[in-house]
């Protein structure tokens, strides 16, 4: 029914990291944990137990304006170009991780998207209800605000299933891996909605987001294979990723979406563009993600609104993920609700990335509260996921 599963397959979002399998069976000690955080793909939030968000988001919060103030607002502003580039790089990894030509993968993508839609609908609906009931008047439209929270909640950090893991575990991990795709696509529209309420303008911005990804992807595809040497190729790769992120930031649209579109294009374009970009970006992925997490932590600003958003966010996200997992188990008979539910709890980095993009695009007090609530919710989610995954009888 499904293709043979290889956890190190290139289709996985981030790709091969031989240390992951080792990490999964190693007892956790503080020194070991820090070493692991620095060296494995856990630094991308893909491994709930050793989630880097638990380390780097608090570090960012301590260093940021709300903490010691070493990372001031001016410095954060200067760092944003690197941040938009990091967001585009994450989008590229998601795009490269899709395999739409295989039926089994399309089925998994459909299941993952179903689970994501359930979470988005539940979280967004809950927030529309709650904010209306509380008579909260955010300085941004209620719908974009609720949708943004829904999108942030829908992303999951996929874990790692060793080759000898049960089929259910491997499928659940892959679904968790693919459930970022639809939120990133919808995110393009939500960010446009945050910028304007005119339907035609929203359509224009969303289309521009996709067109930007495509045009830069085509330019990159024309260049990568013909670079004269490694140094020039690295220049092209860095330049293309910066253009994807920078172009989106300039337009006020989603760098994640333009990156994902480009990644998908390279995946199916003739030549070695996908391999080249994956190999070159892999060297930068850990520093970029660590920077993103620290940036998110530093950008967070505690406020009453953020506090009000946090509780419902954590609870409804949990409910949404479990409901989504249950629904997926109804259409994929290989899975039981328990198999998939626990794999969907860890929020990882994509939700935070979307919250950052949303705040940057709208720049309002409400979007800052969303970012703060999502940052805090991510920490709580990671702790919950750790308990869910390492509890008695699991792994």
């Amino acid at each position: 029914m499904t293709a043979p599963f290889d956890p190190y397959d290139d289709r996985s979002e981030i790709g091969r990291d031989v240390l992951d399998a080792h990490v999964a069976t190693t007892p956790i000690r503080p020194a070991r944990l820090i070493d692991v955080l620095g060296r494995t793909r856990a630094a991308l939030g893909l491994k709930p137990l050793t989630a880097p968000a638990l380390l780097f988001v608090p570090i960012g919060a301590i260093l940021g304006p709300a903490g010691a103030g070493w990372l001031g607002l001016d410095l954060l502003g200067r760092l944003y170009p690197a941040m938009s580039t990091a967001l585009a790089a994450l989008g590229i990894f998601v795009g490269l991780g899709m395999s739409l030509d295989q039926r089994s993968e399309r089925r998994l993508l459909a299941a993952a998207s179903l689970e994501a839609v359930v979470t988005i609908a539940l979280v967004s609906g809950a927030f529309v209800y709650v904010l209306t009931a509380w008579e909260v008047r955010p300085d941004i439209g209620l719908l974009p605000l609720a949708l943004a929270l829904g999108l942030c909640a829908s992303a999951t950090a996929a874990g790692v299933a060793p080759a000898d893991a049960p089929l259910a575990d491997r499928l659940a991990v892959r679904i968790a891996d693919l459930d970022d795709v639809l939120p990133i696509a919808i995110g393009g529209v939500v960010l446009a909605l945050a910028a304007t309420s005119a339907p035609l303008e929203v359509l224009r911005l969303a289309a521009g987001n996709v067109a930007l990804g495509l045009s830069v992807a085509v330019a990159g595809w024309l260049l990568f294979d013909r670079a004269h040497g490694e140094a020039e190729r690295a220049v092209f790769v860095i330049g293309v990723v910066a253009l994807l992120g920078g172009g989106a930031a300039y337009l006020g649209v989603s760098p994640l979406l333009s990156g994902m579109v480009a990644g998908l294009f390279w995946k199916y374009a003739p030549g070695r563009a996908d391999t080249i970009i994956r190999d070159d970006l892999r060297r930068l992925q850990h520093p970029l993600v660590v920077l993103l997490l620290i940036f998110a932590g530093a950008s967070a600003q505690p406020s009453t609104l953020a506090l009000w958003l946090l509780g419902p966010y954590v609870l409804v996200r949990l409910a949404g993920k479990l409901a989504g997992g249950w629904l997926v188990s109804r259409v994929m008979f290989e899975l039981s609700p328990g198999d998939i539910g626990s794999h969907l709890l860890a929020p990882g980095v994509i939700g935070l990335a979307f919250a950052l993009a949303f705040h940057h695009a709208s720049g309002t007090t409400a979007s800052l509260a969303v970012l703060t609530a999502v940052a805090a919710g991510t920490l709580i989610g990671e702790v919950l996921a750790a308990f869910a995954l390492v509890g008695p009888g699991r792994r």
Partner: protein, 442 residues
């Protein structure tokens, strides 16, 4: 063909983006990464086109910056160009570090006398010629035509010192990007570095003279001299310590060299701001220590330099090109061209005298003047000091010098690259033990 298509596509993309957000100043503030990515790719392609035309790549980067910058097509706005300059400190440190790696004392020991002779003449002759012409032509120059006597002498001495200065950054960048090694490149590099050190000290003295002519108390001048001594010798000492640490890292660890090299350059640049060190001198000293005390083995260092130098050089020169003041050039174009020609002529004369006195026989030596035409950061730094201290005539000096820098930034690299090509030194770094450039056919 594919590269041309990619370039056209990128240009169209950026034009559409700029049109879509036309007049949105907030978008400009968000445009740094866009400008960075666009400049990195498009200027690299432009540089390659220049290389095919046997011109220096950095001229391609500069012209690309000029063409796409705020004074021409405005694809890179003034805000974006200014944001791109955030890389300047890193670029200058990296360029100087690479230059230090190319100066081997064992190799140049035998030529030290010649370097001093050529360098001395290359500074003194232009200084005398320009000072004489400026003093005589002062009433017709739009700076302070009414000045007479000692005031006029002080003003002309200040202007002459600024005009004679060279550009170590551009010199090193041309050597690095054309992978040059040989007697001519070593001669020019040594002369430029030593001459600029001498000129910075000379500048301190003439500024002090001008202050005393103006009737200043002299406190500022007394403070400036130790400051510059700290600036120069402190920078060298700091760089030497960093270089020793880097050499130790190379020996003991030797991994992730690209990252460590960039981190070292960032450190020298940041420390320069905090401790008032000159990153150019610190990094040069660091490179000298690494090359002369613990020379790197194998290709790891070479690869690290290649990987880090290309993107940094591209952005640095695109930002410089985008910041060229075309308005100043238009305003004082005639005078700037005249002075630039006079400066080039006097450098040619000085180098000719120096080469004859040193008895240098290799074919490249007589072309060394072509490597001394460039002007950039040092000159601009000196003129900024003049403008801030003497807001009236100093500001007009700044406009004139900025116009001349624009000319020299464009013409200097082309001339130097031509000289290096004629001397057969281009690509010398890639030849095993390739130090005999002048013996090779051009």
């Amino acid at each position: 063909m594919r590269r041309a298509a990619a370039l056209v596509l990128l240009l169209l993309t950026v034009i559409v983006l700029r049109r879509a957000m036309d007049g949105d100043t907030a978008a400009d503030l968000r445009g740094t990464a866009l400008a960075f990515g666009f400049a990195l790719i498009a200027a690299t392609l432009a540089g390659e086109l220049f290389e095919r035309l046997r011109l220096p790549r950095i001229s391609g980067y500069l012209l690309f910056g000029l063409a796409c910058g705020p004074f021409a097509a405005d694809l890179i706005s003034r805000t974006m160009a200014s944001d791109l300059q955030i890389i300047n400190g890193l670029a200058i440190a990296l360029i100087a570090f690479i230059a230090g790696l190319e100066i081997n004392f064992v190799r140049i020991r035998s030529r030290l006398g010649a370097i001093l002779a050529v360098g001395g003449a290359a500074v003194l002759v232009p200084f005398m010629v320009l000072e004489m012409v400026l003093f005589l032509a002062w009433p017709w120059l739009p700076i302070a035509p009414d000045a007479t006597g000692l005031t006029r002498l002080g003003m002309t001495l200040v202007l002459t010192t600024v005009l004679v200065s060279f550009s170590p950054t551009v010199t090193i960048a041309v050597i690095t990007e054309s992978r040059t090694r040989g007697p001519l490149s070593e001669l020019v590099l040594s002369v430029v570095v030593l001459a600029d050190l001498a000129l910075i000290l000379g500048f301190t003295l003439v500024m002090q003279f001008m202050r005393s002519v103006n009737g200043a108390t002299g406190d500022a001048g007394v403070g400036l001299l130790p400051f510059l001594v700290w600036d120069i010798f402190g920078s060298f000492a700091f760089g030497a310590i960093i270089g020793a640490a880097f050499a130790l890292y190379l020996r003991i660890v030797g991994r992730e060299l690209t990252l460590v090299l960039l981190a070292v350059c960032v450190l020298m640049s940041a420390a320069g701001e905090v401790l008032h060190f000159e990153p150019l001198l610190s990094a040069l000293a660091a490179g000298l220590v690494v090359e002369n005390i613990a020379p790197p083995q194998g290709d790891a260092m070479k690869h690290a330099v290649e990987r880090s130098a290309l993107p940094v050089l591209v952005i640095f020169f695109v930002a410089a090109g985008a910041s060229i003041h075309v308005d100043a050039l238009m305003e004082l174009g005639g005078i700037a061209v005249g002075l630039a020609l006079l400066r080039a002529f006097s450098i040619w004369m000085g180098v000719g005298l120096g080469v004859a006195r040193a008895g240098l026989s290799h074919t490249g030596a007589s072309m060394a003047w072509m490597g001394l035409v460039s002007q950039a950061g040092v000159t601009l730094g000196l003129t900024i000091i003049v403008a801030s201290e003497f807001p009236g005539w100093g500001t007009r000096v700044q406009t004139l010098v900025v116009a001349m820098i624009a000319l020299h930034e464009l013409a200097g690299p082309v001339l130097f690259r031509m000289a290096l090509a004629r001397a057969g030194e281009v690509g010398g770094m890639d030849r095993p033990g390739g130090l005999t450039g002048s013996a090779r056919p051009a």
